[in-house]
Amino acid sequence: MTRLAKTWQWLLVVMATLGVVSGIWAPGDAGPALRDVIRVSVRTTVVGLDSKYETSSTVGAINSNVLESLVTIDYDGATIRPQLATEWKAESPTSWVFKLRPNVKFHDGTPFNAAAVKFGLERMADQDSSQRGDFSWLQSVQVVDDLTVRIRAKFPYAPMLSSLAFYEPYIVSPTAVQQMGTGFGQKPIGTGPFMYDTHIPRQKTVMIRNENYWGEKAKLARAEWLIVPEENTRLAALLSGELDLLTIIEPSIMQALATRPQYAVIRGPDDLVDRIGFNVKKKPFDDPRVRKAVIHGINRVQMLATIFGGVGVVFDPPLAPGIWGYDPPTMAKLSYPYDPQKARALLAEAGHPNGFRTTFTIINRPDHRQIGEVVQADLKQIGVDVQLRAFDFATVAQSTRQGDHDMYIIGTYGTGDPDRVFPEFESANFNVKNRNFWSDPEVDRLIAAQRSEIDPVKRLVLVRQAAAKIREAAPEFPLRWRRAVQAINKKVKGYRVHPQKWFLPNVTVEQ
C-alpha cells in the first residue's frame, strides 16, 4: 500500500468518527433545521399595496398574507370560509348580519370591531376607489354592537358573500388610514398573520410574522417578495438558491425544471381567463355569423398546446369551468370547435365569401404578440386579413374603452360567482366592463334577475339561461381558463397553490 493511499485511509477513519460523534451530539429532534425566511419572486412591478387603489392580482395575492376580509375563499376557489367574521345570516334579500371575531387587533394595536368593518367596507365604495364598481350594490354598513354589523344592499343581491370574499374588501386599521394619509398605500395595516415591514416600490416588499395573530401564527419569521422582471433571471435565482418560490412561470421554465429533482412545478386552479372580444359596433362584427366564423376559424386547442404549454382549459363562452353555474352537459363538447370549412361557409352566408380585413388590438408584450400571430395565421386560412395593432397597456385601455378597436384581447375571471363575469354583457356597462358593446334586452333582464334571486336553485336556472343566450350571440370567446403554475424548491414545505393568494403562513423552509 502506498503512502498516499494510507493517508486517505486514515482520513476516512477520522471523518467517519467525526460523523458518528456529530451524530451523537446533534440535538434530539429528527427534522432538518429550518430557515426563518422565504424569498418569493414577483413578475410585475408592485408600486402601491392599498387594495382600494390597486386591483392587480399580484398585489391582491401578496396582500392576502397581511390583510383580511370578513370571509375568504378556500384553495378550491369556490368554498367561502369565515375569516374576520365567525358567522353570518341573511335577514332579508337585502340585509345580512355578521358576527365578528372577538379579541382581534390590527398590527398597530387598534382593536378590530364593527366600526372598523364599517370603515373598511365603505372605503371600497368611496368616490375615488378603484373597487367602487364592484361595490355599487352596497347600501350601508350599520354597527349593531361592537362585534356585530348589518350589511344592506341596494337591491336583493345574491352574490353578496362572494363579493366580500373575491374582491378583497380588506378590513384595515382606521387609525392607520387616518394617520398615514397617502403613505398608507406603502404599508397597509391589517389583521393578518404577517405584517408589512418595509416596502420599496418597484423593488421589494418585506413582511414579518405578526406575533399577536388571532389564529395559528405564521411559521416563518419573514417573507421577502422580490420583483424580478426577467424570466431567465428568476430561473437562475431559483437554481442558485436565492429564490424559493416563483409565483408565475412560463412553459420554458417548466421544461428546464423537469430534469431537476430538487425543484417541483406545482399547479392549481387559477382565477384568470384570457379572452378575445369583438366590437359589435363595428362592421362586420355586428353580424353574429361573422363572429362565429372567426371563432370556428381559430384553433384554440392547438394554441393551448403550442403557446400555453398545454396549461389550461379551452371552453365555450361565457362561463369558465371554475365559475358557479358552469354547465358541463352542454359544454362537454365545444360549441365552436376549430372548423375552417364551417367558418368559410358562415362568412359566405354573411356576405363575405372572400373574407374581409380587420384589426386586432393587443398589448405589446410577448404573450399577446404570440397570440396575435397565431390568430393572424389561423384567420388567414379563412380569408380574414388581420392587422395587429400593438400598444402599451395605457393606450389599449383607453382605446378599447372608447370603442376604437375591432378585435381585442382582455382578461376576465375564471372562478367564483357568475356575476363576476356577467357585467361584461350588460348594456349598463358599456365603456367600462363591456367593451364588446354587445347587449340584448333579454340578457340584461336575465342577468338582473339572477343577481337578485336568493334561492340558488332558481338562480342556477337564470344563470344558465343567460349563459346560453350569450354563447349563442358570441360577442366574445375565451382562449383558455388558466391554471396557476408555480415553481418551488422542494425545501419549501406546506405551500399550496391558491387561485388568488400566495399564502405563506403554513409554509416552512428547510435549511
Binding site: S130, R132, Q203
Partner: protein, 306 residues
C-alpha cells in the same frame, strides 16, 4: 476659464427649460390616460373622473404646465401618480443605483480598454493587435441580455460566487458592471488604438525615440497623453448613456435603476416621475459634457477656454 464655465452653466439652464417644455408636451401628446391607469382598467367612469380631479388632470393644459413649472422652481417635484410616493424619493432610490453602475462600468471599461488600445497600437499588425481588435469586435457585438445571463449562469448558478439578484451590496454591481463595460471596453479600445496610431506617427514621437527615451516613456508619457482627448470624449458620452438607464441590464439583474423606473413610469403615464427623471438625466448629460470639455484643458495645455 471661469467666464467660460459661467457661460456654459447658463446654457445648462436653457437646456433644462427646453427639456421641461418638450417632456411636458410629449407626455401629454401620447395617448393613454393616467387617471385610467391609476383607477384601474375596469373602473367606472365616475371613479376615473374622481381620480383625474385628484391628480389635477382635469385642469386646462396651460394651467397644469404653469403649476408644474412653479413647483419645479420651488424644487417641488410632486408625488408619483402611481405610488403616491414623493418623486424625490423615487429618484433617490433609483439614481444612486444607476450612478454607481455607470461609475463602476466606466472604471472597468477605462482600465481595460485603454491599455488594450495602446497595446494594439504599439504592436500594430501583430497577432496581439489582431487578437485585441477581435476581442473588441466581439464585445461590441455581444448583446447585453445574452452576456448578462451567461455571467449569472456561470458565477451565480454554476460557481455560486456571486448573486443572481442584485441586492444593493457593492459586490452585486460586479456582474452588471462587467456586462455594461464589455461594450464600452470595445469602444474605448478601438478609439484609443486609432488615436494612438495617429499620435505615434507624429514627428515629436520620432524625436523622443531618437533622443533615446525608453519605449515605455514614449508610449505612455508622450503618445498616450496626447491621444487621450478623443478617448475621453468617448468615455464621457458613454457615461451619460449608461447613466441614462440601461433597461436591459437593469432588468436582467433586477435593479431598480433609472432605466426601469422611467420605462415603468412611461408605461404607467406617471407624468411627475417621467418629467423629473428625464430632467435629471438631461442635466446630468449636460454636466458630464461640460466636465469632459474642461478635462480637455487639463490634459492638453494647448486647449484654452476664453
Amino acid at each position: 476659464m471661469p467666464a467660460y464655465v459661467v457661460r456654459r452653466l447658463g446654457h445648462l439652464l436653457l437646456v433644462a427649460a427646453g427639456v421641461v417644455v418638450i417632456t411636458f408636451s410629449m407626455l401629454h401628446l401620447i395617448p393613454g390616460d393616467p387617471a385610467l391607469v391609476v383607477a384601474g382598467e375596469f373602473a367606472s367612469d365616475e371613479s376615473v373622473k374622481a381620480v383625474r380631479a385628484r391628480l389635477g388632470l382635469d385642469q386646462p393644459l396651460h394651467v397644469q404646465f404653469a403649476r408644474y413649472v412653479v413647483n419645479l422652481v420651488r424644487l417641488n417635484l410632486g408625488e408619483s401618480f402611481r405610488s403616491n410616493v414623493p418623486v424625490r424619493r423615487e429618484l433617490a432610490l433609483s439614481y444612486p443605483i444607476s450612478a454607481q453602475l455607470a461609475v463602476y462600468s466606466m472604471l472597468i471599461a477605462g482600465v481595460v480598454g485603454v491599455p488594450l488600445g495602446v497595446i494594439a497600437a504599439v504592436r500594430r499588425g501583430t497577432l496581439a493587435d489582431l487578437a485585441t481588435m477581435l476581442v473588441a469586435m466581439a464585445g461590441l457585438s455581444m448583446p447585453s441580455f445574452w452576456l448578462g445571463l451567461n455571467l449569472i449562469l456561470i458565477f451565480a448558478v454554476r460557481l455560486g460566487w456571486l448573486r443572481a439578484l442584485w441586492s444593493g451590496a457593492l459586490i452585486d454591481y460586479l456582474l452588471p458592471a462587467i456586462t455594461l463595460a464589455t461594450f464600452s471596453v470595445a469602444l474605448i479600445a478601438r478609439q484609443t488604438r486609432s488615436s494612438m496610431l495617429e499620435v505615434l506617427s507624429q514627428d515629436y514621437i520620432r524625436t523622443a525615440r531618437a533622443k533615446g527615451l525608453a519605449a515605455r516613456t514614449v508610449t505612455y508619457r508622450h503618445a498616450l497623453l496626447n491621444a487621450l482627448v478623443p478617448v475621453i470624449t468617448v468615455i464621457g458620452l458613454n457615461f451619460g448613456y449608461v447613466l441614462g438607464g440601461t433597461v436591459i441590464t437593469e432588468s436582467i439583474f433586477s435593479m431598480r435603476g433609472m432605466g426601469l423606473l422611467l420605462v415603468g413610469s412611461i408605461l404607467d403615464r406617471d407624468y411627475p416621475v417621467v418629467q423629473a427623471g428625464i430632467l435629471v438625466l438631461a442635466l446630468n448629460f449636460a454636466v458630464i459634457n461640460l466636465a469632459v470639455d474642461l478635462l480637455y484643458a487639463v490634459i492638453d495645455p494647448r486647449i484654452r477656454y476664453e
